[in-house]
Symmetry: C2
Subunit: 333 residues, 2 copies
Amino acid sequence: MSSLSLDVLTIGNAIVDVIARTDEAFLAAHGMPKGSMTLIDEAQAETLYGAMGPGLEISGGSAANTAAGAASLGARTGFIGKVRGDGLGGVFAHDIRAAGVAYATAAATDGPATARCLVLVTADGERTMNTYLGAAQNLTAAEIDAEMVRGAAITYLEGYLWDPPAAKEAFLTAARIAHDAGREVALTLSDAFCVGRYRSEFLDLMRTGVVDLVFCNEGELKALYETADVDSALIQLRRDVASAVVTRSEHGALFVTKDAVVSAPAFPVETVVDTTGAGDLFAAGFLAGRTRGLDPATCLRLGALAAAEVISHMGARPQKNLLDLARENGLIS
Amino acid sequence: MSSLSLDVLTIGNAIVDVIARTDEAFLAAHGMPKGSMTLIDEAQAETLYGAMGPGLEISGGSAANTAAGAASLGARTGFIGKVRGDGLGGVFAHDIRAAGVAYATAAATDGPATARCLVLVTADGERTMNTYLGAAQNLTAAEIDAEMVRGAAITYLEGYLWDPPAAKEAFLTAARIAHDAGREVALTLSDAFCVGRYRSEFLDLMRTGVVDLVFCNEGELKALYETADVDSALIQLRRDVASAVVTRSEHGALFVTKDAVVSAPAFPVETVVDTTGAGDLFAAGFLAGRTRGLDPATCLRLGALAAAEVISHMGARPQKNLLDLARENGLIS
């Protein structure tokens, strides 16, 4: 086994978020299911951008957010994902490196523009996303840095990668390399609509052992097993995958294996400003704890802490040093 | 006199802010006086961007922030300022129009890139700015839309426009057109360092009646009269200009004329997150009130309210509807 050079390597769509406040009427007028992530093409992105309010641009992308969060907790992290060498591509590359994440995927010199996600945030803090995948969809298996994967304790993949066909191949390649090196492979189910698109494939990945650790929230869990009954879904989940983290918003989170269930409460949040990145940062906290060798309950608390920080402001990347925050809360000594 | 089509027209540098948190050590290592605005060239901007932390991009520019704030308070507003037709230029144009501000200055098709301001925010909320003016410095007198100026009750100019030589000419042209149409001309002194660069010219503008209304904070006032004594500076200010608004941070603000002094307290702010735009939004509130015909004390309170909103979050544009906020606080019926 090669030596460990990274704690967490994440692979996903490299996206810059364009965030604007909106109201329920705007979502209704544009036929957007609140809380969803919808894929749109470049023309649709231009039209929607023209209609939406003043924005703020901030690097995002689910797995990239997780890498940035884990780095903020002191984990050695890397990210693989594709931008184009344009303005937003420069922003994405700057921000992920400035967050302390190793990032070396070559930017495309032609083809579609850097991916952007138009994030509409309602007064309740809920986000509704429209994503133009652009350059991100051209991530191929050839761009999976095998050395990086072999050197990472955990390789974490986002379910959204299942959308672009070439990236799906990259996903499977990374998982194979990681397992061949004796490493762990984690998957986030991303969102309930994503699960709706790929549920049988995600179940296959779990049942055939391509993934060892699944992250999902209750909505995704219910979509995965097509049931409204969380308890029965949990029983099935524990049968289908070696381990899983199930987040339950303000009700905390569970870590489940075939043999055990560990639960932890959420951290209180004064005002939920923007829920974008809540799941990504929960995963960041959990993974940073796990690669430090902390017990599952503490890992869940770290996840809850990181999620609480990110939903208290606009944008899906931490604005505070999470390691300091974890120390203040007695989770890391 | 042509009919009034705008309440407030602002003219300034069209800039996108790139905001990152930093610490005192970073400022010291880069020799930046905390709270200052320094002009840098493109190479310096690249170097500093490479060294600074993860950023968020949000439209800024002092006078443009004021226009966006006044629009949020229900004023009919316009903005004149120059971008290039690049990615950030598109962001700037989208955001100002989406804020409800009339904006028609043609984007440059070649030459320097759209201006950006690298804003470093310390834990105390204070911002230190490094500005690459780029395309903004190519605003010329020919781009002052005379019809727009003649139709605006108040034309508001930023002191920062004095930095690019061509823009200075545009500034004077706008002031002349406004006065010829019987309109009011306002000037913000922008920052104490800017006053340091141009104090005799700013005093000339005031003493010769090119400007009727000056906005400044105590630091700028002291720089203008090269004194540490605010009281004596105020006496001189009242002699030199028809009217002025002097902001005093948490101590509130004053509106002074030759005959009268009106004061109003600040609004309490729970946590000062980022002071960028505090002065710009104070001016927005005051001008929106003045063009509604409200009394000076209420205009000052509107300024204080708008400033309090903008310093409670990252970025220099309002994130709440300021008209709603003003109504909740009983300032506008």
